[in-house]
Symmetry: C2
Subunit: 389 residues, 2 copies
């Protein structure tokens, strides 16, 4: 079997996880040939934990020029995702970028343009797109089983993080280092799945609490209200301060209601469309007959490995990607709109005015007087933190 | 046993239900002695369905002056709740008023003042306060079991009504006739229980859809975001257009999470306070140990009968009321704030500016060009529509 030669740029929490997967041969159609990190400790870790054949670089450009890789996985802090992806495309490399695509849409639009110009295969690490729950939800919505969507509601508050988490890295939860809080670090998957299954909202009114539960300058508590083109509404609630949290995603349509919770998808299906019933019934207190349906799920969640393998297959065989990199901008549009709405204390339209957003973000960074008490920077075990259930 | 002599003013849907309960002797400490309605058909119904000793009046004032009653149940359209209650207090009668207390807070404040001046016992038909689920929730919150509240979230969309419901009465779902839609007709119980268990919010930002799912001029779809004095936030979502709907009430606090759904109360209780855990743990990816606790409920929901009996006992023996009439203004503050926020497209503080609200409501009534297609006005069987589960 032909194998894609992969370099991993950034071997911190996520990058080292991907490097080990590849190094252990867990991705049949790909192999690790190089890694890059600016930290000597991380390169030392690489020399001790990865195969002797894996080349180590301390500058991404050298890895890009090395001729050792066909594609790269970009797993650096958020702000550098577009910068390094664009650089890789210029070197004619295929790119799989970690989430979020970037911090502001202006930057990510440029990354998408660079990808298009390069003709290379561009993926994004939306590993939760491999979750059978959301695959099935998307399939049901696209097939029209729910009818016209009326309401979406995601309470995704099970991203709890204690202060020790924020103290574990100086870049974390700062406007300059990360460009945001729970929306940019924990929620990109949820924002993506929300739009991937139910479509993009057209406007947002959001309420962000900054440093509400932690000693940080960015948001750790968010309630967002959205409206869709067809008149449907939605609510998205998240926090890193709720323990225990909730992960409950409800979608209501003309044909009934789907709820994803506790790893299950339940579909209450109307026998007759509600819109039709509304018009035709003559009984004041009545409602459509509804059946609680057991909908089978298929497959298992292949997660990060599945996304890497699918991207590699896209390169090797032209298979369509489950998570095309160009779609990374969608979730970011929503999170940028959420921030902007909160900053302006007003409704914000999507697409977000990208220059205004960038200006406001720069103001936040410049106004920051935040000094963090950072404990020893160390790489954490991220297993079990992906929160896909 | 001494029995309270009761008159029911308004024997439409709810009033005839109360009259029959009393007439059938289902309230041990109270008896029906008189009814009043402006409709000859309803008085004919009364002569055919109530005891021969029950006097019938076509004007409330005559019932109030009759000397036949100690207290009255006011079950007329919303706008007349305060007017008739105030009139009854002037006649030194005790009053049990149907919900909502009224349509605008200015009017209801005057009713509360009249009640205080009269020294009579004033109750409101918040029958869902007898539900063991909410009684237990309130008890747990008051006892501090949840700790400081962080978030409240009520998805109460199981108030489905088809167009036939709105066509069943000319006053329904008009600014002039009812003063609002789902917030004023279906949700007063939920708004009351929300504030009764979790306290009053201090500001509201709401989004109302008017005539979204029905041919009506008032709102049938609402999403409201609120903030509390302690910094907690909340969301309240309702609609008469969702089928099937949801009734899920989640309250998060420092000590865990309570969810009321499907007639059950579940309490996930932290072993250690989250605020304390947050400060003390040194493990970046960790959270407080949490126990899913089975909390026993006690008693059964005595509903309307329980409220009437409790009010009668308050009059006969001085027992404290479960639902004092003076508290009717609280839920109305929230619904008035929801409307005003939607009309002004802005955040609204609570207490609502009562004169501004009244002016805006009058503008709505005057601007109304809505003509309804009303089918034959008839009294519907309301059994099973109280939605307390």
């Amino acid at each position: 079997m032909e194998k894609l030669r992969i370099g991993v740029v950034g071997i911190g929490n996520m990058g080292s996880y991907h490097a080990l997967c590849l190094n252990n041969g867990e991705i049949p159609n790909a192999e690790l040939t190089a890694v890059c990190d600016t930290s000597p400790q991380r390169l030392k870790w690489a020399s001790e934990n990865l195969g002797a054949g894996v080349q180590r670089f301390d500058r991404a450009e050298m890895l890009f020029q090395s001729g050792l890789v066909d594609g790269v996985i970009i797993a650096v802090p958020h702000y550098d995702h577009p910068t390094l992806s664009i650089e890789a495309f210029k070197h004619h490399l295929h790119v799989l970028c970690e989430k979020p695509a970037g911090v502001y849409t202006k930057q990510v639009r440029r990354m998408n343009e660079a990808a298009a110009e390069s003709g290379r295969v561009f993926g994004i690490m939306y590993n939760q797109r491999t979750n059978p729950l959301y695959l099935k939800l998307r399939e049901l919505v696209k097939a029209g089983e729910l009818g016209e969507i009326k309401r979406t509601n995601w309470i995704i508050t099970n991203w709890y993080r204690p202060q020790a988490y924020y103290n574990s890295g100086g870049w974390r939860a700062t406007w300059a280092g990360e460009g945001g809080g729970v929306m940019l670090n924990q929620c990109p998957h949820n924002l993506d799945l929300w739009q991937w299954t139910c479509g993009m909202p057209i406007r947002v009114r959001a309420f962000c609490g900054c440093g509400k539960y932690h000693d940080i300058e960015v948001e750790d508590d968010v309630t967002a209200y959205v409206e869709y083109k067809n008149g449907a509404t939605g609510v998205f609630i998240t926090s890193t301060g709720d323990a225990p949290g909730t992960n409950r995603f409800e979608i209501t349509g003309d044909m009934g209601k789907i709820v994803i919770e506790d790893g299950k998808l339940n579909f209450w299906r109307n026998r007759l469309s509600e819109r039709e019933f509304n018009k035709t019934t003559t009984i004041p207190f009545s409602q459509p007959e509804v059946w609680k349906c057991e909908v089978p799920l298929s497959g298992t969640e292949t997660a990060h490995k599945g996304i890497i393998a699918n991207w590699a297959e896209g390169i090797l065989k032209g298979t369509p990607l489950l998570a095309p990199g160009e779609e990374g901008i969608n979730g970011l549009q929503i999170s940028n709109a959420i921030y902007l709405s909160s900053w302006l204390n007003d409704m914000v339209e999507i697409p977000v005015p990208e220059n205004l957003y960038y200006e406001k973000l720069k103001e936040k960074i410049e106004a920051s007087s935040y000094k963090k008490t950072v404990s020893e920077v160390k790489v954490s075990d991220v297993n079990g933190t992906f929160n896909s259930k």
